[in-house]
């Protein structure tokens, strides 16, 4: 009986073991260990992490995993449906596109670009938005007004026009696309960071840090910034999806990644024309995108849950 009990309740075992540790050091679990312990019991986090790991794996090893060359056109075999549908062929597991290119291979290769753009652009945006928001919120005064003016400009200029102009001037490449999308998607970060910073800077722990001799810059980065991580994480998960879709728009206009390279956004854009007759052309990359966004969300929520400090343990 005992053995089945312990097998059924692995968490119980883990907890009682760590309780033992606690007694040994007398300090309680260190924050990192406590977070790791909670992460092990967090299903959402594990699923999200698993999906992202899988996608990264696909992206890294695409040349070995893809059954076909994603660029080779095979016009006689164009617009084949997935293998399990009538008229499908097992050689082309997920069918082919309008140029006869293997859809599975393109989705696997597409993971490279979509992951890079989604996570890259969201990170670039976060760096710009959080930095400006922290500066504006914490220091206030003319800096705040300058940043607010910048936001107004950013909101007033049609971002697509701006992106088009930038891409024309700088040239077309993945790096450019990442930076251009990032540079036009930071307003969310800024607004949220700024308002949260305005609230936090009035807290006594900021005054305490100042009175122990920290500079204002140290206070902003070491005391205020860690308290913004939850909000930043939420926006990050949203921005990943937004960035991937903006890339599709850009690609559709011929301004995204250079042509034969596959990306999920571009595949959706291309498949749109024949959506009613060959729905898989939209559904499959859409599904991949959906999985990525869900995974980022789960991961974000999970990281928040395991690092969250406002609950009694």
């Amino acid at each position: 009986m005992m053995t089945t009990d312990t097998v059924k309740n692995p968490r119980f075992v883990a907890e009682s073991q760590t309780d033992g540790e606690q007694v040994d050091t007398g300090l309680g679990l260190s924050p990192a260990k406590a977070a790791l312990k909670r992460a092990r019991g967090h299903t959402g986090l594990k699923i999200g992490f698993g999906i992202i790991l899988l996608m990264v794996f696909l992206a890294l090893f695409a040349p070995w995993l893809a059954p076909h060359d994603p660029y080779v056109q095979n016009l006689p075999m164009r617009l084949l449906p997935p293998a399990w549908v009538d008229g499908g062929e097992w050689r082309y597991l997920l069918g082919t596109d309008h140029l006869g290119r293997d859809y599975l291979s393109r989705i696997i290769y597409g993971a490279r670009i979509s992951l890079a753009i989604g996570i890259g652009a969201a990170t670039v945006g976060a760096i710009i938005g959080v930095t400006l928001g922290l500066l504006a919120g914490y220091f206030g005064g003319w800096l705040d007004q300058a940043v607010n003016f910048l936001v107004t400009c950013q909101l007033a200029i049609p971002s697509l026009l701006l992106i088009m102009a930038l891409v024309f001037v700088i040239g077309q490449s993945i790096t450019v696309v990442i930076f251009v999308i990032g540079a036009t998607h930071w307003v969310f970060y800024l607004v949220v960071t700024r308002s949260a910073t305005l609230r936090l800077r009035e807290m006594d722990f900021v005054a305490a840090a100042r009175s122990m001799g920290c500079s204002r810059f140290q206070v902003a980065v070491r005391e205020v910034l860690p308290n913004l991580s939850n909000q930043i994480m939420v926006i990050f998960t949203l921005e990943v999806a937004i960035a991937i879709l903006s890339e599709a728009t850009l690609s559709f206009l011929g301004l995204g990644i250079p042509s034969p390279m596959p990306s999920w956004g571009l595949m959706i854009a291309e498949g749109k024309t024949s959506m009613f007759f060959q729905p898989w052309l939209v559904v499959l990359p859409g599904l991949a995108l959906f999985m990525l966004v869900i995974a980022v969300n789960l991961l974000g929520d999970g990281v928040r849950d395991v690092t969250v400090t406002d609950r009694r343990s």
Binding site: L27, D204, A208, A209, S211, M212, C214, T309, S313
Partner: protein
């Protein structure tokens, strides 16, 4: 006269289901209230006081379950009333309620007049104009000047005290038979508190209302209530008349609470009594006495058997196994203020910190294009703090205490004047060097600790910032500081919100002291804490002062704390120090009329006595609209022509510094 009680509650329970278990917020409370009587319910936070009131009013949170044998109100059982009947016929109509937070309990988007009239027109068939007449009448009665024009004002145009008066007027619109006041004065300044309590008492006598006064302040309840119910962990542990309960408490919890109050029973003691631990959350089945884990007299029976209720008289009851020692509590006579046994008199005369005629004016702009209005936060302030002493800085909110402490810590530049710390001007000191000499302890331990850092990180942070010693040495120092402030090692890796309020304040004290500063600025360090925890923290601060040879500047509005802690007292009003001198001089022989009013407003525990009339008129003025002449003249009971024309200069009278035209050289005012 009707002898039937107005309110009769039998076996009232409130349960709140939580994720894992059911929280028993109220456990079988019996209450009885006659017409015209005032019942005070006292207890620490978490004891179920407010839940009891909300249960009576059917205002519990949606998840909560209420059960009771009966809630008889004037002969009708409220348990039987439907929600609709209750809302229409009872709540706001026959039972009025006043909440704690006047800042949030009025709707900001409607005028005062509309909100007042609505309470009446909702319940009765009255015309708009009849309601308005009543509203004006009541506003006048609660002491708001110019009531007719007030009706058109919005809540943000009124001060906290004025809003609380409006709340009271609103509760009285329908002439309720019972008024429930849940901490009605906790958020207000002491002088306003005295006014509101007097107002409630006068109105009650005039209207023949019954009142339930919920408070944690034993001083308030001793002056305002006829009888007292002491609540602990959802149950009433002792009831009786105010005098009996406070002068001859039988339950160890009541006795413990009384011992925690500075200046009440512990005159001869150097340290306050305290109740260890916090109020437990009652879940599952309860075994034994809920207080057993914190009770100094608990015996084995207390932990296993539910204590019986011991009835002394029909009105007097306490729930305890009553181990023999319980009876031994003898009230020592409350010490007169002249007994100076708490703190040794001035330790030395070398000033470690001196503030020399500091002034500071902010300019506040209304709106983007509005005119800049000067706000004089500090006006010619001079103070000296001697090494090893405790200087208490007393004043109401808005008087400039915070600006002064920020200036002393070098976080705020004064316009004129200087702050000299250990012979060096504070603004010439580099931030790092300053931090080793002076450190703050803040009021709210929930805001002063970064929620994202562990307790170990927080306490050790100053060492890391100043790069003092190796990592190992820093850790060792952090451990020993935690021990010094009484924090167990196992919270080293906990986050602040896993700790209780008292523990958090201990961590904040540890952080302030780890650099071994010479001067510590305590900004209301206990006002956010329960009285039992307050006692622990005050004791700790006194112990640490002796051990580490500290000097405190103690900012507070609680005069019993001042009496317990301070060597000298400085009283601040509207950016000026109006009186400053030795504690006994200032507290026993106040020379400034404001100081006198403040001392009168301190409600020590004195059953049978009433809340004194302070003689102050009006509210604390808006600092942006400073009166001409002496800043205190509009409220001063003894103001004369000269006070309205010229501002008085500070003058030395005896050992005190007083800023008043009318200061008496030596007061023959009898000691209260």
């Amino acid at each position: 006269m009707n002898t039937q009680p107005l309110l009769d509650i039998r076996n009232l329970s409130v349960e709140i289901p939580t994720e894992s278990s059911t929280l028993k917020a109220v456990r079988g409370v019996d209450l009885e209230l006659k017409r015209g009587e005032t019942l005070g319910i006292v207890g620490e936070s978490g004891s179920g006081k407010s839940m009891t009131a909300l249960a009576m009013m059917s205002l519990l949170p949606p998840a909560a379950r209420r059960s009771a044998a009966c809630i008889n109100f004037d002969g009708a059982d409220l348990m039987q009333a439907s929600e609709h009947d209750f809302a229409v016929q009872v709540r706001g109509q026959r039972i009025g309620m006043i909440f704690q937070e006047p800042m949030t309990s009025l709707n900001p988007v409607y005028t005062i007049g509309r909100q007042l009239k609505e309470t009446m027109t909702l319940h009765r068939k009255v015309s708009e104009s009849e309601a308005e007449v009543r509203a004006i009448h009541l506003l006048e009665k609660v002491g708001l000047p110019d009531p007719a024009s007030r009706l058109k004002q919005y809540p943000h145009e009124l001060s906290g005290g004025q809003r609380q008066r409006v709340m009271i007027a609103m509760a009285l619109m329908n002439e309720p038979e019972l008024l429930i006041a849940d901490e009605p004065t906790t958020a207000l300044d002491v002088t306003i508190q005295a006014q509101i309590l007097r107002l409630l008492r006068d109105l009650q006598q005039e209207l023949g209302m019954s009142m339930i006064l919920i408070t944690h302040d034993l001083g308030v309840v001793s002056r305002a209530a006829d009888k007292i119910a002491v609540m602990y962990a959802g149950d009433i542990v002792e009831t009786g008349t105010t005098e009996e309960v406070l002068l001859n408490p039988r339950h160890p919890y009541t006795q413990g609470l009384l011992e925690c109050v500075p200046g009440y029973r512990n005159g001869a003691l150097k340290r306050l009594g305290s109740i260890p631990g916090i109020v437990p959350s009652m879940t599952g089945t309860v075994q034994g006495c809920a207080f057993a884990s914190r009770c100094p007299r608990a015996v084995d029976t207390c932990r296993t058997q539910t204590p019986p209720s011991q009835e002394i008289s029909p009105q007097r009851m306490y729930v305890c196994h009553d181990p023999q020692e319980t009876r031994d509590w003898q009230p020592s006579p409350a010490p007169g203020l002249s007994q100076d046994m708490l703190v040794s008199p001035s330790q030395g005369q070398t000033p470690i910190l001196s503030v020399n005629s500091v002034s500071c004016t902010f300019s506040v702009r209304r709106g983007m294009f509005g005119k800049r209005i000067p706000l004089r936060a500090m006006n010619d302030i001079s103070l000296q703090v001697n090494k090893g002493e405790v200087l208490a800085l007393v004043g109401e909110s808005g008087c400039g205490k915070t600006t002064l402490t920020r200036t002393i810590m070098g976080l705020q530049q004064p316009d004129t004047g200087s702050v000299v710390l250990n012979g060096q001007r504070i603004e010439t000191l580099p931030a790092m060097q300053r931090a080793r000499m002076i450190q703050p302890i803040f009021q709210d331990p929930y805001s002063s600790l970064n929620p994202r850092k562990t307790i170990g990180e927080i306490i050790g942070k100053p060492l890391a910032v100043h790069k003092l010693g190796s990592r190992q040495e820093q850790l060792a120092k952090t451990y020993s500081m935690m021990e010094l402030v009484g924090l167990p090692r196992r919270v080293f890796n906990s986050y602040p919100n896993q700790l209780s309020g008292g523990q958090r304040q201990r961590a904040a004290i540890g952080r302030a002291l780890i650099m071994r500063p010479e001067v510590v600025i305590c900004d209301e360090p206990t006002s956010a804490l329960d009285v039992s925890v307050q006692a622990q923290i005050l004791n700790l601060l006194l112990d640490l002062r002796d051990e580490l040879d500290l000097t405190y500047l103690f900012v507070t509005h609680n005069l019993s704390v001042v009496q317990h802690m301070a060597d000298r007292v400085a009283v601040m009003y509207l950016g000026e120090i109006v009186e400053c001198g030795d504690r006994d001089d200032v507290m026993l022989n106040p020379r400034h009329p404001y100081t006198r009013a403040l001392m009168d407003s301190a409600l020590s525990i004195a059953p049978g006595e009433i809340v004194p009339d302070l003689g102050l008129s009006g509210d604390f003025p808006n600092p942006m609209n400073r009166p001409a002449g002496c800043a205190f003249n509009p409220r001063c009971p003894i103001a004369e022509q000269v006070c309205r024309e010229r501002a008085p200069a500070p003058e030395i009278i005896g050992s005190s510094l007083v800023r008043c035209w009318k200061a008496q050289p030596s007061s023959d005012r009898p000691i209260a």
